[in-house]
């Protein structure tokens, strides 16, 4: 496929915009000196990711991303940040020294290279059948509760454990509260 063909298709443009959004958001997250801006950068990244999933026809994943990550996780992030400390403006101390930055960049770069290489290695020659319309949620549900029922149950058990752990951590004993 030449670049000319690539650029002639609308969905590729959409892809480019979304990919740019994902990257820009990600850079904002690590670069911003304001915690809230960083969290909002994460919104941009996740929103663009949801868009990418939509482009692939994976509606369910896309809307789950919006609902769970943007609607709940990030909101809780912001909530937590604002209720404890919410300075407007910038914090100098939020940035790490250069040595940490360089190390982080190297780690991130090599991780990206590794995953990219693994994907290319595994799937380069595979041509996926074009999906006709969006994936039906019912199909996901059926496969989740037939083929993948044990992982699903394990996951839900893990989440329950996390929930209880959260409650235990957050709960203040009456005796302690009296102190």
């Amino acid at each position: 496929m030449s670049f000319g063909d690539w650029i002639g298709q609308l969905e590729n443009w959409v892809f480019a915009v979304l990919a740019f959004g994902t990257l820009a958001g990600a850079i904002l997250v690590v670069h911003s000196r304001n915690v809230i801006h960083a969290a909002l950068g994460l919104v941009l990244t996740l929103g663009s990711l949801a868009g990418l999933f939509l482009l692939l026809g994976a509606e369910f994943v896309a809307w789950t991303l919006v609902m769970v990550y943007i609607g709940a996780v990030i909101v809780l992030f912001l909530f937590g940040i604002m209720i404890t400390r919410a300075p407007l403006g910038y914090e100098i101390d939020l940035s790490h020294p250069t040595s940490v930055k360089v190390t982080a960049a190297i780690v991130a770069g090599s991780l990206f290279a590794l995953i990219g290489w693994a994907f290319l290695d595994a799937f380069e020659a595979v041509e996926f059948a074009a999906v006709d319309g969006p994936t039906r949620t019912a199909d996901i549900g059926i496969s989740m509760f037939t083929n993948y029922v044990i992982p699903f149950e394990v996951m839900s058990f893990l989440l329950l454990a996390a929930l209880i752990g959260g409650i235990v951590l957050a709960r203040q004993d009456p005796e302690e509260a009296d102190e």
């Binding site: 509606e59 943007i70 609607g71 709940a72 912001l78 403006g89």
Partner: protein, 336 residues
């Protein structure tokens, strides 16, 4: 018709439905509220009933200066109303006014509607934080705490509906309510879900949606006697209008979702499918306004709860009730 033209028409239809509907609901709030309070309400703008009052209000707001408070985080401050509005407009995309009259009938419309409407929380938090005002911050935090707490029962209530209907598509849910429940002689009687097992679900959905919309008795985020105006305290001009519009459009969209999930959407028992093709939008909109009226009615009757009372209502009563509702619905679904 080309894709682009169709898209344009759909976008305009969705926006028109949202803004037009919101204006009607605003007018209804002004007028019904006034009559409940022994007042006249608007009577001048536009002629006899003051029908143009919402428009006049909107125009007036737009003429005002768009103020950004000193020390505010300008970018976030300016972005917040758009995020709120986006979450509201998104829902209108999947609302079916009749079997054919829908902008985009998604396979998981119900899920989509709830997901996209959760964006408003984000916008409210952004507005509250970026205003550089303590009242705004407290209001934003209250709003977020409230929306997080009530998102759960809301979604859980819809889960029960989805189980009963066997689909997440809004049209699918409405069609499922057209399936006859029993027959009297020749007549097949189809009933909306509120009458066939989801009455508790409807109550949970309705209470949770009042809280989602931050309306009295759950309007702590903007409680004017405590927080002046909560997270919208600092907003003016067009950005205030956007919050205002989003509130009423949200009321409309929540009523529409409740109509679709529990009141049979565009269906009316006893009407043939041809009649529904034609009368569908009228039936749907009537039901939506009926529910909106209840919202308004409560708004002008009740005082507001306290934030902790609202939280305990959500976590101690609504969520367990919603879970129980799911269990019962699922049991019936499996047994019958």
């Amino acid at each position: 018709m080309s894709f682009a033209v169709l898209l344009t028409i759909k976008v305009l239809a969705v926006l028109g439905l949202m803004i037009g509907g919101a204006l009607v609901v605003i007018f209804a709030e002004l007028k019904i509220g006034a009559h409940m309070q022994n007042r006249m309400g608007p009577y001048f703008a536009g002629g006899r009933f003051g029908w143009a009052q919402p428009l006049a209000d909107g125009l007036k707001f737009m003429q005002k200066e768009d103020l950004v408070p000193d020390g505010a985080d300008e970018r976030v401050y300016k972005l917040a109303p758009y995020v709120v509005l986006m979450g509201t407009v998104g829902v209108f995309v999947v609302l079916p006014l009749s079997p054919r009259f829908v902008a985009r009938d998604l396979d998981l419309g119900a899920f989509y509607a709830l997901a996209i409407s959760s964006l408003t929380t984000l916008g409210v938090l952004m507005a509250g934080w970026s205003s550089n005002n303590k009242y705004s911050l407290i209001g934003g935090l209250r709003a977020a705490a409230q929306l997080i707490a009530y998102e759960l029962p809301l979604v859980l209530a819809v889960v029960a509906v989805a189980i009963q209907a066997g689909t997440l598509s809004i049209s699918g849910i409405i069609e499922a309510q057209a399936v006859p429940v029993f027959t009297i002689g020749e007549l097949n009687v189809a009933l909306p879900y509120i009458l066939t097992g989801q009455i508790i679900g409807f109550a949970i959905f309705f209470i949770a949606s009042i809280a989602e919309l931050s309306r009295i008795p759950f309007d702590m985020p903007i409680a004017e006697s405590e927080l002046t105006m909560g997270f919208v305290t600092e907003y003016s001009s067009i950005r205030f209008t956007m919050f205002f519009l989003a509130e009423y459009a949200g009321m409309l969209s929540m009523s529409a979702l409740a109509t679709a999930f529990y009141l049979g959407g565009y269906q009316l028992p006893g009407l043939s499918s041809t009649a529904i093709e034609v009368l569908g939008p009228v039936i749907f909109i009537s039901k939506v306004f009926l529910l909106s009226f209840v919202f308004i009615w409560l708004r002008w009757t009740l005082p507001r709860f306290r934030e902790d009372q609202l939280q305990s209502l959500a976590w101690r009563w609504l969520i367990p009730a919603a879970l129980l509702n799911i269990a019962i619905t699922a049991t019936f679904k499996v047994v019958f």
